[in-house]
Amino acid sequence: SQTIHQWPATLVQPVGSPLSLECTVEGTSNPNLYWYRQAAGRGLQLLFYSIGIDQISSEVPQNLSASRPQDRQFILSSKKLLLSDSGFYLCAWSARRTGELFFGEGSRLTVL
């Protein structure tokens, strides 16, 4: 069966520090991978999605970046965090274009 894991689960970082959130999927190959952020009052905002290794699409201009160094690994990064980067970050995968997503457990980021 397929599983998805992301870590760390909770992160408290000072403004200006770097960020790395990692997500891995097991039990499937060539999945579509997604990063979403849930901020207060903003719902689930699509940040990045990837249909293959090194194929990343960015949806929202910001100081975040994403990379997909391996087929089932998706990394969300920042060189310098802003206060507005605080939120609940969710990684997800999909095997089809029908939109059925399977989400990880989420990572709560607080920037102070």
Binding site: G43, L44, L90, R97, T98, G99, F102
Partner: protein, 110 residues
């Protein structure tokens, strides 16, 4: 530019009655529409979907209706149960992209 809109931030429904959650969209290119349920501090879980070529899909207590001319879809839950209390997200997919609305918090009252 919000392509998927859920205009009701919250909804309260008596247990046993019907819950109707609404969603509007603007992009005619969307080919699938989905509903997800989310509890606090967890990832959303998939509930039900509908292809853009259909107008209704039913799965147990959950039914999704699609009105393409109005660019509107709704999720009906009947009968509503206490465990249905959660945030419900409407989502739409097109070209590998999946866009979510802001969500509606559903409270099921005893």
């Amino acid at each position: 530019d919000q392509q998927v809109k859920q205009n009701s931030p919250s909804l309260s429904v008596q247990e046993g009655r019907i819950s109707i959650l609404n969603c509007d969209y603007t992009n005619s290119m969307f080919d699938y529409f989905l509903w997800y349920k989310k509890y606090p501090a967890e990832g959303p879980t998939f509930l039900i979907s509908i292809s853009s070529i259909k107008d209704k899909n039913e799965d147990g207590r959950f039914t999704v209706f699609l009105n393409k001319s109005a660019k509107h879809l709704s999720l009906h839950i009947v009968p509503s149960q206490p465990g249905d209390s959660a945030v419900y997200f409407c989502a739409a997919s097109w070209d590998d992209k999946i866009i979510f609305g802001k969500g509606t918090r559903l409270h099921i009252l005893p």
